[in-house]
Amino acid sequence: MSLLDVTGLTIRYGNNTVVDGVNLFVERGESVGLVGESGSGKSQSAMAILGLLSAGAEVSGSIEFDGRQVLGADERWLDTLRARRIGIVFQDPMQALNPYLRVGIQLRQVLLAHGLADARSADARVTEMLARVGLPDPQRQFRAYPHELSGGMRQRVMIASALIAEPDLLIADEPTTALDVTVQAQILDLLEDIRDNTALLLITHDLGIVAGHCEHMIVLEKGRVAEAGPTTSVFASPRHEHTQTLLSAALRVDRGAAPEPVDGRTLLAVDEASVRYRERGGAALEAVNDVSFALRQGETVAVVGESGSGKSSLVRAVLGLVPMASGKVVYAGEPLEGPVQHRARAQRRDLQLVFQDPASALNPQMRVQTIVEEPLLVHERGMPSNERLGRVTAILAKVGLSDAFLRRFPHELSGGQAQRVAIARALVLEPRVLVCDEAVAALDGSVRKQVLELLRNVQDETGLSIIFISHDLAVVRSISHRVLVMYAGRLVEAASNEQIFSTPLHPYTKALIDSVPVPDPVVAPKAAPVRGETPSLLNPPPGCVFHPRCPRVDDTCSVERPRLRDSGGTRVACHYPLDN
């Protein structure tokens, strides 16, 4: 008998069927991956297993846990199941933990509610659990509020709360999606180490995570099971078309042909740019510190880094959206300075921006036509309206959207369509530089692949230069000619795509690459290469900013700040660069 046996699970909201006849088994102690794109019904299925769907959901089928029916069971019994037999870890620990309660109190409640400890012994068990999930100084962290912890530490607390009652099954719903990649690697290691004989149902959109951590996998498509089986055989010979699409769209950080380097003339040169933000209380936060780089005509330069690396601040300063504390920018031989509204119209026109979340970057009250033609109304005032419409339809066609989309509102678009509209709006003025700030991060794998292809095609046709900000190294590998790696506001390595991925010189660059899960079960997942998290920019470490986490650290690193120097075509800021 399986530990969890779901058959024919169907979930409807009115006429909308979100889960349609899903079968799913989890045996004791095994790990099963539930994979799918957004809207495939993976989280809904998990909520149904815990009996936590909202009142409007119509559920049918069967969910048996350890031989007992969960569907339709009474709340009292379900409460004995939750946490005690089935623990759950949610995606974003900042939202999933109560901001008004100390974390120790939240864990303590789980023990008390299930009668696993009395008021006196509970605290000791909570502290012990916090230590097991790797919180330093657990006695002190017991009294911390969630916002006082870093993202990784918060997720460790969430895992502690899911496992403290020693359940038989752990459901992890996108447990690392809100985390930086080096922290993700640590959390995946922790899940692997700590769960012992607890079965794991891992819900994710990331095939790399499934490949590295699940024995079995189930692929969902629009609420139905497309394919299920042992992970190795699904990856080796996917039978269902949707699985094939997903696998072919999954980008690999460990292999792939690097785009040919571009030999155009320099279009944009950034020289020792710094950005400072003033915090309340007068402390200055150095978001970007003396970063220099150049962008050639027709070239894609990727800026990679984790949260707080300064990658967005850097390009925002270049665009004039935030003030630059020092440094200068030269665009096409002319200085580019001051806030964007004071810049020459032609300069504004030449540099355009695409944001991460198309849903919030498009005005919900405007139709697609209005959104895309708006830049023309500003920059091409005399253009007759029929010509304008022609330009709009032409650019929409280029991004793969037909005339039928002209009259649509943003909420009538899918994520990929909305991002195409955002790109069309940026491209309608025929800019020479396009800045993409995490422009594919919110998209599903298959859509992401199409958008990346679109950008490549536009670049081939028009010689567009692209600054591509991303935290995702697999994406960066597939699209960029050159890569800048930033850490804590500093440029730590800059090199060609080929060099960065084949012979990274900075230990941080290597750690970043090694942290990315590879969507191939044949490649054994690497242990998290670095400990800890990005330092606070208000109080950066002395010497090399990376030294507290660096595996190659030595006395010099904590004292002397490494300068960026050339090493065979790569610029690297490290006292002891790797020799590959």
């Binding site: 709340e75 199941l81 999933a96 901001p99």
Partner: protein, 307 residues
């Protein structure tokens, strides 16, 4: 936390000064003097009176004198009741207003929060609609209607309770004024609690608590109640100050000699120092209770302390 509290207290001082200055100016800008009567007094008498109450001094000097008195708890002499000070008048009236107000607040919080929470947990059901309908009625009916109806029903018809403020100390004389004052508050608090409880119950951390099998009672008590009460808390600051300083209408209807009644009399009698005194007293309480609310906010929401 201590730093936060001290900063808040320091921040409250200028607000209070500004309110006092404005009230002072407005009272002095009112046409006519406190001693103007039908028959004009001889000029020397007028001058004498003005000198006695320092009304002949320039305004800034009068204001400084007033502030100096305030620091010692002296709100000045009453212009009407020649042998009494404003502090004495308010001091004798305040206990009545305070007792009735405090009871009304406790009653309103108890009933309002529990019925609001109950309605939130049964959102969309008949119970919910019934509770909300009732509270909408409570908000819609003005106090000057509720009070006479209650009196008519419980004092005149049923004769269970006294109709007015009996001179003998008895519990029964509190019942009708307290209920009258509390009813609209109950209604408002219930609606506030319900709305914010529904919001909090939909938050991710409540889903987590449910997924941990804590059960509805524990989920509400441990996780949801504190954040759900934040809007109620911000409402209560100024509301408490208003209620314990006495409702003009309720005190008039039940004949209670409270601060509200003093205020009305002061205004009718052109007893400007009394009016000013009541305004300053009221303003101080509002500032004080808002301060308490700010501090309680930081106690409930730890993130506030860092802002």
């Amino acid at each position: 936390m201590l730093r936060y509290t001290l900063l808040r207290i320091l921040g409250a001082i200028p607000t209070l000064l500004l309110v006092i200055a404005l009230a002072f100016l407005m009272v002095h800008a009112a046409p006519g003097g406190p001693f103007d009567a039908e028959r004009r007094l001889p000029p020397e008498v007028e001058a004498n009176i003005a000198a006695k109450y320092h009304l002949d001094e320039p305004l800034p000097k009068q204001f400084a004198r007033y502030l100096g008195g305030l620091l010692q708890g002296d709100l000045g002499p009453s212009y009407r009741y020649r042998d009494r000070t404003v502090s004495e008048l308010i001091g004798s009236a305040f206990p009545n207003s305070l007792r009735i107000g405090a009871l009304a607040i406790l009653f309103a919080l108890l009933v309002g929060i529990s019925s609001g929470t109950y309605a939130a947990l049964r959102q969309g059901t008949l119970t919910d609609r019934f509770v909300m309908g009732l509270s909408m009625t409570g908000i819609s009916i003005p106090v000057f209607v509720i009070a006479p109806v209650l009196v008519l029903l419980f004092a005149v018809k049923l004769q269970w309770l006294p109709a007015g403020w009996t001179s003998t100390e008895s519990v029964s004389r509190y019942v009708l004024p307290v209920i009258t004052l509390a009813l609209p508050q109950i209604a408002y608090i219930a609606r506030l609690t319900r709305a914010s409880m529904i919001d909090v119950l939909g938050r991710d951390f409540v889903r987590t608590a449910r997924a941990q099998g804590l059960g509805t009672l524990r989920v509400v008590r441990v996780h949801a109640l504190k954040p759900a009460l934040l809007p109620v808390l911000s409402y209560m600051g100024p509301a408490i100050a208003g209620i314990i300083t006495g409702s003009v209408v309720v005190e008039e209807i039940f004949g209670i000699s409270g601060v509200g009644q003093q205020f009305v009399r002061g205004a009718l009698n052109r007893d400007y120092t009394l009016v000013l005194g009541v305004v300053v007293f009221y303003a101080t309480l509002i500032v004080a209770f808002n301060l308490i609310v700010d501090i309680l906010y930081a106690v409930i929401d730890p993130r506030v302390r860092y802002r």
